[in-house]
Structures are given as C-alpha cells and as structure tokens.
Symmetry: C2
Subunit: 336 residues, 2 copies
DNA sequence: GCGGATCGATGAAGCGATTCATTCGTTCGG
DNA sequence: CCGAACGAATGAATCGCTTCATCGATCCGC
C-alpha cells in the first residue's frame, strides 16, 4: 500500500511538503505542487484517514443511531442528517439499534472507540442511562425525536402531545365516541405523549376518558399492527375508530380490517402517525399526523455541527420542538 | 481524553501490559490483570480505534453502498449484511449513493481513505468504471444485486430475467394481451433484464413482441411511478396490465389509477417487483416478484468475509444467482 | 555589500496503540 | 548449587500522517 513516504521519495521532496500539497496547497510553490500532484495521481496514493485521525484526535464522522431502519420515518430523518453532515465535510455512519438496549450499547461503544465527531441518537433505553458513556467521554450528542429532561442536552423533537390531540380532535369531529389507541411499549415516550394528546382532546371535548381504550403492541411495526388489529376485533364493544402510534401499526391494523372484511372508514376509521410515503399508497389512503422528518434530521445535524465545529464554550444547548400537522385522507373520511 | 499511558501509570505497569490485558488477557498474571481492568473501568478508558487501525493497516469496518435507502428492498439487504458483519465483529457503514455516480464516487473514495475492510456495493455507474479505484487499492468488494461481466469479482444477484418472465407469464395466463412495462433508466441492468424476461415470456407464449409497450420512468420511486401511471393513461390504446420494474413504481402507478378512478385489477392489472413489506399493504394488495433481499445481504457479507478474513490466495471468486418467486395478490387477480 | 525579510522546503516530534525481542525473577532438574 | 526453562512484564520500534520550528536561498533597501 503506497504511503506518503513513497510519494515524497518519487517526487524528490520531503513528506512534509507532500502533506502541504494536500492540505495547504497555497504554501507550496506552483512547480513543486504540480509535480507532487502528478506523482500522487500516478501512484494512486490515498491518504490514510486513521493516521490523520490519530494525529487530529477526532474523526470526521458523525454517527446516527436510529430505532428502526425498517421505518421510513427514520430513513427520512437519516437523509436529512446525512445531507447536512456531508455538506460540512463529514461522513455519516447510520446504525440501527432495532429498539434493543444492548444493540444500542454496543453501537455507542463502537462510536466511542471510533472517536466519532458526534452522535445523533434516538435512544432505545428509556432511562437515558445509555448516554452516560458518551457524556463521560465528552462526545457531543443530540437527541432526535426525544426531549431531554435536563437542559444540558440538545434535542430536536416534534410535539407529540399536539400530534395526538390533532388526531383525536379530528376523530371526535367526525362523530367518533369510542376510540382505540394502538400504542407500543409504554416506556417509549412517543407512545406515551401521543396518548396524552389523545386524552387531552377527549377532555377538551367534554368526553369521558374511557372513550379511549388502549391496545399495546409489542413492537412498532406492521406485523405488530396486524396483531393489534385482530385483538381489537375481539374487544367486547367494537370501537368505531383507531388511532395508531405510528403508520406501520396503522398499516398493520388496516390489513387486519381488510382480512376481516371490515370496511374502512365506514365501520372503522383509522388515523396513523408519521405520514410516511407509503401511508398515501395504502389500501385506503391513510390519514396521518405528519412529522417533519427530513428537517428534523437536518436540524439535529446542524446543532451537532454547531456544538462540534464552533467554540464549545460558546455553544448554547437548546431543545427545538417542531409542530406536527394532520393530513386527512380516506381512512378517516366517511365515504359518501 | 484518557489514553493507554494513563492507565499504565495508574496501574503501575507498562503500556505493553495494558495492551495485553485488553487483547491477550491470558498472557497476563491474574492479579495484574484484575488490577489493570479495574483502573480501566475507573478511568473510563476507551481504546482509540484509529491508533489500532493505523498499526493494523486495516479497519474493522465493512462498507455497504446502496442505490436508494428510500427503497425498503435495500433496507432489507442492509439488515442481512449488517447482522452477518456484526456477528463477525465488524461494524457496518451503510451509505446511499441515491443512484448518483458522483455521490458513489465520493463514497468510494471515503471508503478508500478509511481503509475499510471491504465494500458491498450496488453500483450506480453502469460502466463499472467506478470500481477501478477499489480494485487498484486492493480493497475487496462484492457486487450486490448485480452480476459482474468478468469472473474475477464476487457477486450475489437474483435472476432478473427469470423474475420478469414469471411476472409476464402470470399476466398472460390471466388473459392479458396488451401489457405495459414501466421501466426506469435503461442503463440499469435490472430494468433491462426484467424486460428481457418479459419479452421471453411473450415469445414463449407465441405472442408478438409489440404486445409489450415500455414506459420509462425517470427514477425508480413512487413519484416517478405516479407520473408513469398518468402517462400510461394517455396512451392511444389503453393496455389491460402493467408490469413495473419495482414495487415503488407499482405503488405509484396504483395511486395514479386510483386518482383516475380506474379499477385495479378489473380495468388494469398491476404486477410489481421486490415484494417489499408495503406491497401487501397497498391500496390493492400488490402482486409482486419476491426477491430474497435479506439472504442476499447475508450472502454478500459472507462472501466478503471469506475473501477478507481467510487466505486471499485461497479465495475463489464466485457469482451467486438466487431465484425469485412470484407472489400473487389482488392487484392481478380478476375480481369475482 | 550586508542585515533583514520573505518564501519554500525540511525533518523531527508526536498522536495512541500493538508487537516482539529482551529482561528479570523463580523454580526446577540434574 | 548451577544452568536451563519458564512465566511475567518491559520498553522500544513502528504504523502514516500533520505540524512547527528551523534552515537556505533569494531579494530588497540602505
């Protein structure tokens, strides 16, 4: 493997000069520069990032750890973050904790070993303990789709309470009085907040809290939604509407309704959450609470860059909260 | 940042011993080992991967470069590859070329600088020139979802001609005689091969080649499919069936039919390709050609590991071709 | 013609780990 | 009782690069 020394020898200059040609070309005389550059091209020299890193003390990589790469919502977040990071000259390492605390732990220590520049993370561990490692290593991080309890952490999130309220306000307005909330593992903040919003909407409309029944799915994916859908049909008094903690669940519920020949929206209205691309293409186009996923990724990356590139003392941690938006489609509109 | 020297000093041993405690614990006396380990824990020491790498000459990362992270098919490939790589102790860096040759180029040089252990790649550049860089750097790579022209490259792919044939045989059997193929950029091999399979099916059935009209989409995503769908409706003689080069296109076409109030499958049958999870959850569940995406990722990673871990001289390059499978659903079944 | 400024290039000192030849004690066999 | 053998720890060399103090050469002004 050809190194900087080989280039230096071939070009008849010192290694320092080769380094300057690469990193600060204006310090090198025209003639020398072109000579070195042509040797670099001829030998196919590629500088070793690890050696650079070792010297520099930090890598040029930003890590992104998401809960579920199978969820297009996170793919969208990733694309927003990636674009921003790459524009700043950083590579992005996207990893998937698959909602597992142990996978998350493994990835976080991998990141620490890599001395990544910073981490964007949607924590799987509800205790927040998993991030202590990063903190003690002094690796900056930004929470994505989560707000932190303490103000010493940057975060970008969407107002899930507002989103849940939007969804249920809409269902109430359409006349529904018996609604099921399909949630996920209760320790996931989103699941909790969206329900809180739903309850708030009921309260504001003067409806009793028991108008909302909760069904808890094992995981937040389509298969779990299918399962929740069939459990829902087993309920004593069948509800007329379902609000799901995300679109994957909603699509699963929709499939279950389809299989049981229950008409959506006439016999069962469905509202999802995230407004992933596939929501609009679903069996019945899905009403959903849209989250600004791409901007979220972008903002998170920007905050991290600010913390990491600028003067750290000058950085002010902040918690950005974005607003969701209801997108009404066929799954909740009474057919004419 | 605490380094190995700090640990050594605190534990009253040499750096070499600390290194041994970490990498070859059995070489170190019990008592010393535990002492060092406790100091490591106390100081929160994390070894620097870049220093290791510099010494070792190669990193512990496998790169995966896919065409479109928005396509769940590639997400599935990634998950297969990731599981395998991590089981072998390698990290995975998943990147998205978004079908752009220049992005691809950028990522490949990033990989070269990182001295990644190997690369799994679905090339965006149809000339295959983009991989010359890897070759000349001696970085092993495996083509995913592509077969290479020359036998000196490992690849894992699915028989796209067979897949196209399956799809169109099915449509012919259902009585369709005027079929549209929604393809993508013609230089994409998959798009070409699936069409070739379609034509083969026509020929085998004794039908004229002009039973198949091609509409070429700009890109292989839902929006392009929507667009292709409306163009399709503008054709002089409206076809009775569409075969799409992938499911995203098919979902887009489906949306266009929906918008134009054209019944699927009665007025228009649709067959997609990939059988992504969302195909089954679509407006009308989508008939699709299933590709074994997860096994493809797994196999590709295994081949790369074989090439990279074992004795390179001993490695035999091979081209694995998997078989697709037709999954029939509502979008191509005449309703009763 | 000489001191000082300027420009280009040099070469050595690290960055943080791994590795291996070496050293230092102990123990054991003869 | 001595040398060999062995176990445990050492410490220096090394990986490839960046950086910075330094050095040489050229040029300018007085």
């Amino acid at each position: 493997m050809v190194g900087i020394k080989d280039v230096a020898r071939q070009a008849g200059v010192s290694v320092g000069t080769v380094s300057n040609v690469i990193n600060r070309p204006d310090l090198v005389a025209e003639e020398t520069r072109t000579r070195v550059q042509s040797v670099i091209a001829r030998l196919g020299y590629v500088r070793s990032e690890s050696a650079r890193q070792l010297r520099a003390g930090a890598s040029r990589i930003m890590a992104l750890l998401v809960l579920d790469m199978g969820n297009p919502f996170f793919v969208a977040v990733a694309s927003g973050a990636e674009r921003t990071a790459r524009a700043a000259g950083l590579g992005v390492m996207v990893c998937n904790s698959a909602q597992s605390v142990s996978e998350e732990q493994e990835y976080l220590s991998l990141f620490a070993e890599q001395r990544v520049r910073g981490v964007l993370v949607t924590p799987a561990d509800p205790t927040g303990r998993s991030l202590d490692g990063l903190r003690s290593q002094g690796i900056p991080f930004v929470l994505v789709d989560r707000v932190s309890a303490d103000a010493s952490v940057c975060s970008v999130s969407v107002d899930d309470v507002a989103g849940g309220r939007l969804a249920v306000q809409h269902l109430i307005a359409a006349g529904h009085r018996s609604i099921v909330y399909v949630g996920g593992p209760p320790e996931v903040t989103q699941v909790h907040d969206r329900k809180a919003g739903a309850l708030a909407a009921l309260a504001e409309a003067g409806l009793p809290a028991d108008s909302l029944t909760e069904i808890s799915a094992e995981r937040l994916d389509v298969a779990a939604g299918r399962d929740a859908g069939s459990r829902l049909l087993g309920l004593g008094r069948r509800p007329t509407a379902v609000f799901c903690a995300n679109d994957l669940l909603a699509l699963g519920v929709l499939q279950a309704m389809f299989a049981a020949r229950i008409s959506v929206p006439d016999e069962m209205a469905i509202v999802g959450y995230d407004d992933i691309e596939f929501a609009a293409a679903a069996a019945v186009p899905l009403t959903s609470v849209r989250q600004p996923a791409v901007p979220m990724g972008r903002l998170a990356a920007e905050m991290l860059l600010e913390e990491t590139v600028g003067d750290p003392a000058e950085h002010r941690h902040r918690q950005t909260v974005l607003q969701p938006e209801l997108v009404v489609r066929g799954s909740s509109l009474p057919s004419r």
